[in-house]
């Protein structure tokens, strides 16, 4: 159902302040990267929410399939020993 006349879709990532990663904020349509960036500024940082913006063509994103999420992520499911809470440490032992 996607239309041929709509401008390409871009995903917008905002770094809210220095020291933090860019986080997905939403998406927008724009004819090119430069306009996408300007539109993203007006749409997602009207209240100083960001110090840096990324715009990425939505078509450039490869996503894992929700139908396969069980089998895809399953290998990590039976490995609780990857978490520090798996290990029993005697009471009173410090800095561990």
């Amino acid at each position: 159902m996607s239309s041929s006349t709509d401008w390409p879709l871009w995903e917008v990532f905002v770094r809210s302040r220095r020291g933090l990663s860019h986080t997905h904020a939403g998406s927008l349509h724009a004819p090119d990267a430069e306009m996408a960036l300007r539109n993203a500024r007006d749409l997602y940082t009207r209240r100083s929410e960001g110090v840096s913006l990324w715009v990425v063509p939505s078509t450039a994103i490869t996503a894992s399939s929700p139908d396969e999420k069980d089998s895809f992520f399953e290998p990590a499911g039976d490995k609780p020993y990857r978490h520090p809470t798996f290990y029993e440490i005697p009471d009173g032992v410090k800095h561990l």
Binding site: M1, G26, P31, A33, E34, L37, D42, W54, V55, A63
Partner: protein
């Protein structure tokens, strides 16, 4: 008839797969998990969301009109800057919601076409005119107030992109409501002519604001299913009553009267009772017979048509630059360098 048997087998397998998908969907909704765009969902759930989100997005951008009407005549630079920021926010809210609706497989063009053809609705409230400057205040206080009451529970809606858009919108709506309240307060405490203007605006906007919550529960077409799917979390009447309870003390603080002699505290229910709503008026406005239905749609179509050359020019510019080697990604590199 081997082919038929094979078809039946395929059909049988598809049904089993659908049943499994439906069970997973129902379980996710029951567990208050969010449904995300690429998850399987019942077609009726998808259609219901598209209908509601499209109507919501259209309301945001049509809602720019009654207020923009007063930008050039705002009484001070302060009020003018505030009103421009608010109208710009409404455009932003429309864009968040269009993007969220598009994750369901519809397109921006399709949504706008349906709005322009009158095949998707926007909130009836925007079919009322803004006759005086005080209407800008009444819209902020009452219309945005009703919208917030409706929208806060939508932040927990079962569809992820809609819920996320609503969180962003609700944060921004709070400014809209407060600026309206402050504007009305200034008028209410001003000259007697200003006070009267504020009261007149509240008189005209009160009942249409109550209608924003939609028809009563026993005659609301979509409510029961939407609540089962956790798209809606509270019934129309429940939210309407909550809104009345919020507004009564706020009106007192403004020194203005709500135009309903039947509003009184009900000790037993711990809520306010209020008078009967004129649902005939609501149905008439919905049918297109409100004071501004034609004007709003005509203005929207005109804005779209008159903006066509800008969209064409931007697309032509993008095509020209895409054809030139070595220019792609220049903007992105620039951002990285300054990050």
């Amino acid at each position: 008839m081997a082919a038929v048997t094979a078809d039946q087998k395929t059909q049988g397998t598809a049904d089993t797969a659908d049943a499994e998908h439906l069970a997973a969907f129902d379980a996710a909704v029951a567990a208050d998990d969010r449904i995300e765009p690429r998850d399987w969902m019942p077609e009726a759930y998808r259609a219901s969301l598209v209908r509601q989100m499209a109507q919501h997005a259209h309301s945001e951008i049509i809602g720019m009109q009654p207020e923009a009407n007063w930008i050039s005549r705002a009484p001070s630079l302060r009020r003018k800057a505030i009103l421009m920021a608010k109208v710009q926010d409404e455009a932003g809210h429309g864009l968040y919601l269009y993007s969220a609706a598009e994750t369901l497989g519809t397109s921006r063009e399709e949504l706008l076409d349906k709005l322009h053809a009158g095949r998707q609705r926007y909130s009836s409230i925007f079919n009322y005119p803004t006759l005086t400057w005080a209407d800008v205040g009444a819209i902020g206080w009452l219309v945005d107030g009703a919208a917030i009451t409706n929208q806060v529970p939508l932040c927990r809606c079962s569809y992820g992109p809609y819920a996320r858009a609503m969180i962003r919108i609700c944060k921004e709506e709070s400014f809209h409501q407060r600026q309206g309240y402050e504007l009305l307060l200034a008028l209410s405490r001003g000259t007697s002519a200003q006070h009267e203007m504020a009261q007149d605006a509240v008189n005209r906007w009160w009942w249409p604001s109550l209608m924003m919550f939609g028809p009563p529960d026993d005659s609301s077409a979509h409510s029961a299913q939407s609540m089962a799917w956790k798209i809606k979390r509270h019934s129309n009447d429940e939210l309407r009553r909550r809104f009345v309870d919020i507004c009564v003390p706020q009106a007192e603080a403004l020194g203005l009267t709500l135009p309903d002699p039947d509003i009184r505290w009900n000790e037993d229910l711990g809520q306010h009772d209020y008078g009967a709503i004129d649902w005939t008026e609501f149905q008439e406005v919905l049918k297109g017979n409100g004071p501004c239905n034609e004007q709003r749609l005509a203005q929207r179509r005109m804005a779209h048509e008159e903006g066509a050359w800008v969209r064409d020019a931007a697309a032509a510019y993008a095509d020209k630059h895409a054809a030139r080697p070595g220019t792609a990604g220049a903007a992105a590199q620039h951002v990285e360098a300054t990050a």
